[in-house]
Assembly symmetry: C2
């Protein structure tokens, strides 16, 4: 199949390209490189050194003997978007080209508006471009489990049957997101659902959990590494916990740490997206996958990180700063995830094993963490009117945030970056 | 109370200003006059002659001896928005400043994106401006009953209790809109709900039905008239049916005509909005009102229009062109509306009486309909890839759409524009 990946230069987009190539698919991508730019803007960089895109393409050619087609551009440009679809005529489109950080969206009004407008415009342009230039293509659109919030009932995959005042109906499960970013994903889901209904497009909406990991079996060479963000804006909580451990800082789960979310290893996310691509939705079908492996509380992440850290001679403490987010710190959390296993999904990597692998790589690239150690600790306050210290606090001159000397760590175990056998 | 009306120059905004002034409230407004511009762009105008805004203000001063404060500007400009709130410190904000046409949003990709981006940006700017400059103000935000779609169960007011897999929870009622415009209102609702939760804002979200009418008791002089749109893009189906009757054209309900929606007379909408303003939500409360009086099918509208037309010596026929929208032509429709009656809402005008009143005014201003008779018939196709005939067909040179000679009508009954006594 020919697969177009929007956001091919990103954390998921790049390993997905490699995974699909290795499975024999043709891959073409587009990207505007805005993630590289925005991570620089907060004073950070990827913990893993990543090549500029043309050198990534060259490495793929040299190592895998494959070619990745590429269009540099922005989905906010409709003519560009339509042009790429008209020229490439992909069988599937995996849409990953979105602003993906909740903390970024919460910085101030302009970041909130930019997040929602960018994500919504890109998706709407892509939908119209599909209708006009590739109406039989299958859209696999990246959403998030965060669209659902944390309701007091089980979370179905998109739709559920309810009885209300004596009548039954199958309805979309209500969304209740927790950041402007998460709401932008809710809005995208609405637009994709509607486009699928009026134009008969094939669509799969992936409610993905939090992804972790630096590795997939396809990243066989350092030149093929994907990015890994550890700063407060672009890194996940787990990424920061591991970076904190490597830097000798306390691990900082917010509040009571009982907040639960669904998680998935990077290579299992690749497996899931590949299964979605290889089993397309029907024309007019809007299909929802809850794409995660296990739910963990923030405390479980912190404790597992601290436990694995010991294997590397690191001894992080766990501290609980007040939760800057507006969220329940203890809650029921039971999402259903049956659609992907029905297509053959089998988890390949456990959380503990994934954390071990990340430690291995972050210790290898420890100097890159040390150089940016001022960006790891949380500063954005979601409730306060003036939550703008982010950019200021990110300057290396912010001495108050200086975490002090960095501990030594033992080298990673030899097999730390090998995938678990199937 | 001091009330800020965004979109004060519009169909609802203007009579709301007069209604609140007559109830003793202070009124200040803002508008960018984009509706006047966009109605011109499709080759139409308001059936009722309306004054430029400064002359509206002067008329209010002369007739009512009241002053309306005004800020010309656009909610897409955050500094403008925050500045107005900081300067005016309103007790309540009635937010009506949105692109309000579903057919406009369906013209093409650019109209779709413009509708969603404009509405979402304006609302998000207003929410942040409230947080920063008027955190105790009460936001009354105009939504639409169309956000809910037409589910096979009763439609509650925003939230409902469901049982799913043995557990119960109160959840937002799922939205399932039928145009890019309607989805933009769904998105606004999400953002208002979230802002209310994180910042403790007072908010009322009004899921309004379709409004009809040319009159409220406050429109006591022709200089105080509000606009009335009858073209396919900016007028509602009922508005077009009455305009078609006056022009001697067939009435054209789409498809089978069984599509049901909630309706409300203009003066009852004013009463409802005033009740919401005078009974503010609590801090942090997100309150949803289903604001309509009765549900009618399109056929009921067509038949009532045809019946009332006879009183004016007009004899329209009813034709059923294919439905250009993607919607069920027969469906269950039972929305609940109990919150407004609990605040004292009592309907003042029936559909038949409202239609009679509109006929009275449209016949009075018949020359304005005749001059623009080429804009009344539907041309936008929601399903087709190339639904762009709208602007072209709106040129007076589009002879194919010429409806021929216009019949004479008898003058309106003397009491046609008097409201029904309470």
């Amino acid at each position: 199949m020919k697969v177009l990946i929007t956001g091919i230069d990103g954390y998921s987009g790049w390993p997905l390209a490699l995974h699909l190539l290795n499975r024999g698919h043709d891959v073409v991508g587009l990207d505007n490189f805005v993630t590289r730019k925005r991570v620089r803007e907060v004073g950070s960089w990827s913990a893993t050194p990543i090549l500029p895109f043309p050198r990534r393409q060259a490495a793929v050619h040299e190592i895998l003997r494959k070619t990745i087609g590429f269009h540099k551009g922005d989905l906010s440009d409709y003519e560009f978007t339509r042009g790429v679809l008209a020229r490439e005529k992909p069988d599937a489109i995996v849409h990953l080209a979105e602003q993906r950080s909740a903390p970024y969206s919460m910085i101030d009004v302009h970041h909130a508006v930019a997040t929602q407008v960018e994500n919504l415009t890109g998706t709407l342009h892509l939908l119209y471009a599909m209708k006009e230039a590739a109406p039989d293509a299958h859209l696999v659109k990246m959403g998030t489990m965060g669209e659902y919030g944390t309701p007091d009932v089980d979370i179905p995959e998109g739709f559920f049957e309810v009885e209300f005042r004596g009548r039954k109906a199958t309805l979309p499960f209500p969304r209740s997101a927790g950041s402007w970013y998460h709401w932008s994903k809710v809005f995208d889901s609405g637009d994709v659902y509607f486009a699928s209904r009026i134009w008969g497009l094939r669509t799969t909406d992936v409610m993905q959990g939090v992804i972790y990991g630096t590795r997939t079996p396809d990243l066989t060479d350092d030149r093929l590494l994907t990015r890994f963000d550890f700063d407060e804006t672009w890194g996940t909580a787990l990424n920061r916990f591991i970076a904190q451990s490597v830097l000798g800082l306390p691990i900082t789960p917010y509040g009571k740490g009982g907040q639960s979310r669904g998680f998935l290893a990077l290579e299992d996310s690749m497996q899931s997206l590949r299964l979605a691509v290889e089993h397309p939705a029907e024309p007019g079908q809007y299909r929802v996958f809850n794409q995660f492996d296990q739910a963990y509380s923030v405390n479980q992440l912190a404790e597992t990180t601290a436990k694995v850290a010991e294997e590397f001679g690191l001894h992080p403490t766990i501290e609980h700063p007040p939760d800057p987010r507006v969220e329940a710190e203890q809650h029921y959390y039971h999402p259903i995830h049956e659609h992907l296993p029905a297509l053959g999904y089998r988890p390949m990597r456990s959380l503990e094993d994934g954390i071990r692998q990340i430690f291995g790589d972050l210790i290898r690239f420890r100097k890159r963490l040390v150089a940016k150690r001022h960006v790891v600790q949380p500063t954005v306050e979601w409730r306060r009117p003036d939550s703008r210290p982010l950019l200021a606090a990110r300057e290396p001159s912010a001495r108050a945030a200086d975490p002090g000397p960095v501990p030594e760590a033992t080298p990673p175990p030899a097999d730390a970056s090998e995938p678990r056998p199937a």
